[in-house]
């Protein structure tokens, strides 16, 4: 009976939504049942969507290579570095959704190309089982500069991933120097070199949290959205560090793809998906931190606790986006 109900429902809505052509949504945020949840909810709301999932870098590359013949209508879940890149490649079209104003200040793109959905804080943490509170570092810089931490903290070198890139940006951005190489002072380069030289890399196929939990590398960066699940799985409670400069935050955003043939429907979908109701429900279901302030009511206690103490790091994302590829290249070639 239930299936019958949903079927008739979708039939009803199909008239309005022109549903024979599904809306194609690219995302890197469909794992752990999120994709299924979104498709289901969207269907209830009358949207026929098709989720295409891959890693953030892969999604970006796909979008770029499909530029001349785009497949996707909407993309969401990538962080702003990727969106900046997409915007620069002329892959997005601007659209200000109805909920744009409900989002925290400074998160949306000024030109309305993309708008924030979910906030992720990349929180430097230690495992109290292995590191005493007194011995804990205060910031990434201290990790790099104090030999005491050599070999016990995680320095992720998988620069294809967004997390590693953001950490690099978080460190380097503190050494911005228009005169320096690639906009970074020499001290900055030396620091990051030390940071990587003293840190522990996570081998392919290993999970950072495993190494964190086992004490192999008990200091590392936690991702706020994943924390709950990981903690439960490993039965490990990390202790957070709040550096003075703040904690880097990334925002997963949503945008419409240039060249979509269903622009109107895409807009409707964006309006719906970013709305406080949906984001609230999503946050409740998946323990996320919505960017939409109106959705705050449904935030889990766990997330509000985390974010209560987090002070966002001020990072000039435009500067970062402009240079990150060159930084990565330099790291790969000269520093690693």
């Amino acid at each position: 009976e239930e299936t019958e109900g949903t079927a008739s429902e979708s039939e009803e809505t199909s008239g309005a939504g022109n549903s024979d052509d599904a809306l194609i949504v690219y995302t890197n945020s469909n794992s752990d049942g999120r994709g299924e949840w979104i498709v289901e909810e969207a269907e209830k709301a009358g949207f026929n969507i098709e989720i295409v999932g891959a890693g953030g870098g892969d999604v970006t590359n796909r979008l770029i290579s499909e530029k001349a013949n785009p497949v996707a209508d909407v993309v969401f879940g990538l962080n702003h570095m990727f969106f900046e890149q997409l915007q620069a490649e002329d892959i997005l079209i601007p659209y200000a959704p109805a909920w744009a104003d409900e989002v925290e200040e400074g998160i949306n793109d000024a030109d309305s190309y993309y708008h924030g959905l979910v906030k992720q804080a990349l929180i430097l943490s230690y495992n109290p089982e292995f590191v005493k509170e007194a011995d804990a570092p205060e910031s990434y810089l201290e990790l790099a500069n104090d030999e005491a931490f050599k070999g016990i903290y995680q320095a992720r070198d998988d620069l294809g991933s967004a997390t590693a890139k953001v950490i690099v940006a978080s460190i380097l951005a503190q050494f911005a120097d228009p005169e320096g190489e690639l906009g970074i002072s020499d001290e900055g380069w030396e620091t990051i070199e030390r940071y990587y030289a003293n840190g522990v890399q996570i081998p392919e196929g290993e999970d950072y949290f495993t190494m964190f939990a086992s004490g192999d590398a008990p200091i590392g960066t936690m991702i706020s959205g994943e924390l709950a699940a990981k903690m439960e799985q490993y039965d490990t409670e990390p202790a957070f560090i709040h550096p003075e400069v703040g904690t880097p935050q990334v925002v997963e955003s949503i945008a419409i793809v240039n060249g979509t043939e269903q622009e109107e429907k895409a807009q409707e979908f964006v309006d719906w998906f970013g709305s406080s109701d949906v984001q609230g429900a999503f946050a409740a279901e998946f323990n996320a931190m919505p960017a939409n302030k109106e959705a705050e009511g449904q935030i889990t206690d766990f997330q509000s606790e985390i974010f209560a103490d987090v002070k966002p790091q001020e990072i000039d994302w435009e500067f970062v986006t402009e240079n990150i590829d060159a930084w990565v290249e330099k790291l790969e070639l000269e520093i690693f």
Partner: protein
């Protein structure tokens, strides 16, 4: 005979049309996209620039990685041949007790590979693995991350890369004329002399081909160095992948790939030349099939048995670990400690949580089937043309079809998707990016070189007179091919077909760039479920997928390859 005949075949309109098709395909899909990429690298700014080369030359790490890759390739040529030949000797030449059981474990690399295989070795040799625990008990000061660096990479790859030996060297071994062994014995030769002077030289042509393959595998090693290499031992392909993913560094990726390509070409030419010198023709008219040799020297016999069973253990442990741990919770997986209540089938339930979960399997099966079918058909056609016309054109074709061996598949994928996202004149202004076709083309392209080599050697083994007979009885070239030649080479063809099939199923590197968004293949599903963006610890899922793939691959191998043999045997019996 060729000169006389080819004059006549050239006029055959079908041959002409097919030749045009092949030339077009090779140009459009092998040469054009890759040359395009290379052109962009050096002429991207409008003027010729060696900047990427300079950048790389300045980087110690890049140079180091290149040297490491080459070093690894050379080490593997030695170790893989050593182990591969041993495996074949243990299963086909020496009389080893329990050879049939040994064989199953030696064949295991056929059904799982890449990331999954590394995972298996990690479970066994990693910090929490039973081997490390054992070593720690022997010596508490043992470094628990001992299994890393060049040694670990070479170790894992040595045992991972022997599947071709098991397939192709075994069949070469079976075709040795046993009477030569008896003759040598009769002339007073010891078993060692027989092995080194009579048996191994006969396998030389096959060993040459396998050596080339091994070298290429070592050169482009990706996952094993990432998992086990650590900082001390980095190789080139992961670097290429990083750069290929970043739009502003693609030129670096191309240059590095070109370096790989050049090394490959040098080695290949060198090897093909010495291969020609070392070749021989078997002169035996009445071969007797090989009888397994019992090792006379008692001590040696015990030693060989020990080695065979040590290899058995080495090959079985990762597979067993994968299967066992796929039924445990993630705590057990990460700590290595298994207790009774670690066991669960939740992992499997999670994988098949919905009917939807079946879809990627179906899609990949269809791609796998179509891809390997077309690539085999295409390579057969090319090999056939090369057989009947040995001229400049076909020799050029031979080399052109090896292009995919010179480039990492990721780069081929990037080249394809970038080239065909706008209408190109070579493909009549069709846009392929975003269609179902592009991935299929990708699968076909990357599997061409290996398939072609094997098809060629199969063809040249067919008696020319059989072909003449069919023609004389009125059959045209096509009919002759389908009805007469194809059935003769079918076993080989099915072998290569299954290998390709198995290779396509879990592919990620190529797939991720080329798949149609609405038709998600298995490789993508697995990566999504287990990759970075997934929050839960996904090792368990990874293990489950590996087990499923192993089952699937075994099924494919036995239904496609095994069944054919079975049918033939039954018909005869």
């Amino acid at each position: 005979m060729n000169t006389l005949k080819s004059n006549w075949y050239r006029i055959n309109p079908i041959t002409v049309i097919l030749s045009f098709f092949i030339v077009w395909f090779v140009f459009a899909f092998l040469i054009y996209p890759n040359v395009n990429t290379i052109y962009e690298t050096f002429f991207g700014t409008g003027t010729f620039s060696l900047e990427p080369v300079e950048k790389l030359l300045r980087s110690d790490r890049a140079i180091g990685s290149i040297l490491n890759s080459i070093l690894l390739a050379f080490i593997l040529v030695v170790t893989v041949n050593l182990v591969g030949v041993s495996l074949v000797l243990f299963t086909n030449y020496f009389d080893i007790k329990g050879a049939n059981v040994l064989k199953i474990s030696y064949f295991s690399t056929l059904v799982y590979g890449g990331v999954a295989l590394n995972l298996g070795y990690k479970l066994v040799y990693g910090e929490n693995g039973p081997i490390t625990q054992f070593l720690l008990q022997l010596n508490p000061h043992w470094n628990d991350s001992w299994f890393s660096g060049l040694f670990a990479v070479a170790f894992v790859m040595t045992f991972a890369c022997t599947s071709n030996h098991m397939l192709f060297l075994s069949s070469a071994m079976r075709s040795i004329d046993y009477q030569t062994i008896e003759a040598a014995k009769n002339l007073g030769a010891s078993q060692f002399t027989i092995l080194t002077k009579v048996v191994l030289p006969t396998l030389k042509p096959t060993l040459f081909a396998l050596t080339i393959l091994t070298f290429l595998t070592g050169l482009s090693a990706t996952s094993a160095p990432l998992v086990f290499g650590g900082r001390e031992f980095e190789t080139i392909t992961p670097m290429i992948l990083t750069f290929a993913n970043s739009s502003s560094s693609k030129d670096l990726a191309t240059v590095l790939a070109l370096v790989l390509g050049i090394v490959t070409i040098i080695v290949l030419t060198f090897m093909i030349r010495s291969e020609e010198k070392g070749n021989y023709i078997s002169i035996s008219k009445t071969k007797t099939s090989i009888v397994k040799q019992k090792i006379n020297n008692k001590g040696l016999n015990v030693l060989v048995h020990i080695i065979a069973y040590v290899l058995f253990v080495i090959y079985s442990m990762p597979v067993l670990a994968i299967i066992i741990y796929s039924f445990t919770d993630s705590l057990a997986i990460s700590s290595g400690m298994i207790s009774l209540d670690s066991f669960t089938i939740d992992n499997y339930l999670l994988t098949f949580s919905s009917i939807e979960a079946i879809r990627p399997y179906l899609i990949s099966l269809v791609y796998g089937f179509l891809g390997s079918f077309i690539v085999v058909a295409f390579c057969l056609l090319c090999a056939y043309l090369m057989k009947i016309h040995n001229n400049l054109l076909t020799r050029t074709l031979d080399y052109s079809l090896m292009i995919p061996w010179f480039l990492p598949s990721t780069l081929i994928a990037v080249g394809l998707s970038v080239t065909f996202n706008t209408g190109q004149w070579v493909v009549f202004n069709q846009v392929f990016t975003g269609t179902l076709w592009l991935l299929l083309f990708g699968y076909i392209i990357v599997h061409i070189p290996f398939t072609l080599r094997i098809s060629k050697s199969a063809f040249f083994g067919v008696n020319q007179e059989v072909e003449d007979a069919a023609k004389n009885l009125g059959a045209n070239a096509f009919y002759t091919f389908i009805k007469v030649i194809l059935p003769i080479i079918m076993p080989t063809i099915l072998g290569i077909f299954s290998l390709n099939f198995i290779g396509i199923l879990p592919d990620y590197d190529l797939t991720v760039f080329l798949y149609h968004p609405l038709f998600e293949p298995l490789g993508i599903t697995i990566m999504n479920a287990t990759g970075n963006s997934a929050s839960a610890d996904t090792k368990a899922l990874n293990l489950v997928y590996t087990v499923i793939l192993m089952i699937l691959n075994t099924l494919i191998l036995t239904t496609v390859y095994g069944n054919w043999r079975f049918i033939r045997k039954r018909k005869r019996g």
